[in-house]
Amino acid sequence: MSAPSIRERLYESPGPKTRRRIAAFTGVALILLGLLLFLIVRQFALQGQLQPRYWDFFLKGSTWRYLGAGLLSTLKAALTAAVIAIALGFLMMRGKLRRFRPVRWLCAALVEFTRGVPTLLLIYFFFLVIPRMGITIGAFWRITLPCAISASGIIAEAFRAGVNAVPVGQTEAGLSLGLSNLRVFYQIVFPQAIRFVIPSLISELVIVLKDTTFAYVVSYADLMQNAKVLITSHDSLVSVYLVVAVIYILINYGLNKLSDRMARGTKKPAEAGQAKRRPA
């Protein structure tokens, strides 16, 4: 069951002339890209950045073990933050869909607050303000909680959009069978909403992962923090940053691929054979 991709829907399939033109443009673009890459590498070489002393420590196992430990900490923090963010986001979404006004307003305010405030500010709050209140929390939570809170509002809105995208007829059919509101939500609406939500949930996960690079503020030894240590001990900024950037990019690329696959694997409810509408 392969639905046509957005590209296939937007453009007609190319004819022979168009195909030749696409090939030509692709060739030119590849040449330009190669040129750019060459210039960058040459510039680094001229500046002496390609000297073996900047790179040879990557041949040592200890370097990779150290980066690996950092990566593990990053993943741990990001995953924990994501789980908390999803839980908070879900609660806020439920609150915003409540009929009881004060709950609705409170959750709406929380959503706006968490979406509006910069992650770094929240980190400073947990790092500087919370300890002054006599509460001590470890470095792990000082990075994880702010990242989670910062993502929660956006996730709440993503959930809400998903829930609203489920046709109202699904709810009405559930109610008319005598199912309670709670059952209708958890057995009918939410399972369908989740399919809409997965792609934006994963994009948000990527942002959480990137936000964890603020860990240096609270001295949590994440990938970025360990990279910094490597940089000082080997005096090799460019090479380490390049390698670390590639690691982040690969992870996030993997996540986005996963999101694409899941979005394609699950049909959206709206496309899944709702009746054709005809004016009554």
Binding site: A173, L179, S180, P191, A272, A275
Partner: protein, 256 residues
Amino acid sequence: MTQIQTPGDKPVIELKNVNKHYGSLHVLRDISLSVGKGEVVVVIGPSGSGKSTLCRTINRLETIDSGEILIDGVPLPQEGRELAQLRAQIGMVFQSFNLFSHMTVLDNMTLAPTGVLKLPKKQAREEAMQLLERVGVADQAHKLPAQLSGGQQQRAAIARALAMHPKAMLFDEPTSALDPEMIGEVLNVMTGLAQDGMTMVIVTHEMNFARRVSDRVVFMDGGSIVEQDAPEAFFAHPKSQRAADFLQSIRAPEKL
């Protein structure tokens, strides 16, 4: 085969002086209607006359502003568990089928019987299969709704409502979203139900079906019940000018 059944002493569905507004729009004007046990009432009328709204107030998918709705002589509960229990006793079939799109047809059928009536899973499945057999889609039981044709989906939706053993069934234009070749199969299922003595309120534009199956035709216009009569009498001699005009307007295309 059409015969007027005199409503029993206690109507299954009774509306008394029901009024409803959407903002300034007075959609239901002083509606009084009672449907006896085993009676088949067809509601017709121009688009926007309030037929769907009427249907939906009966199981409180829409609230009313004033008046009273009684089911088996008991006022419709306002909310909560009592309302849910009452809704479980009245089947509703929608224009757009509204099968739960993330579940197989069989799971659609057993969700409410196991969740609300607390039937054991095995029994719910057996009953579901019997009902699917009866409406002729048993072979589709393990498919998702999207894999069925419109006619099959609507028949499954009727079976899903029947699985709750309802006292009455409401149909809101059940064939209006269907391609013409599928209308018959759905109407056949409904005819069968009527013959089995199901109490039914049917909003439809299928006049031949109405004439054949209904015990009474209710004509609505502008939020009011303008007239109601046995089908032969209504279709042959509508009493009101508005009903006559409406019948004329829907017959006109057939003459072309």
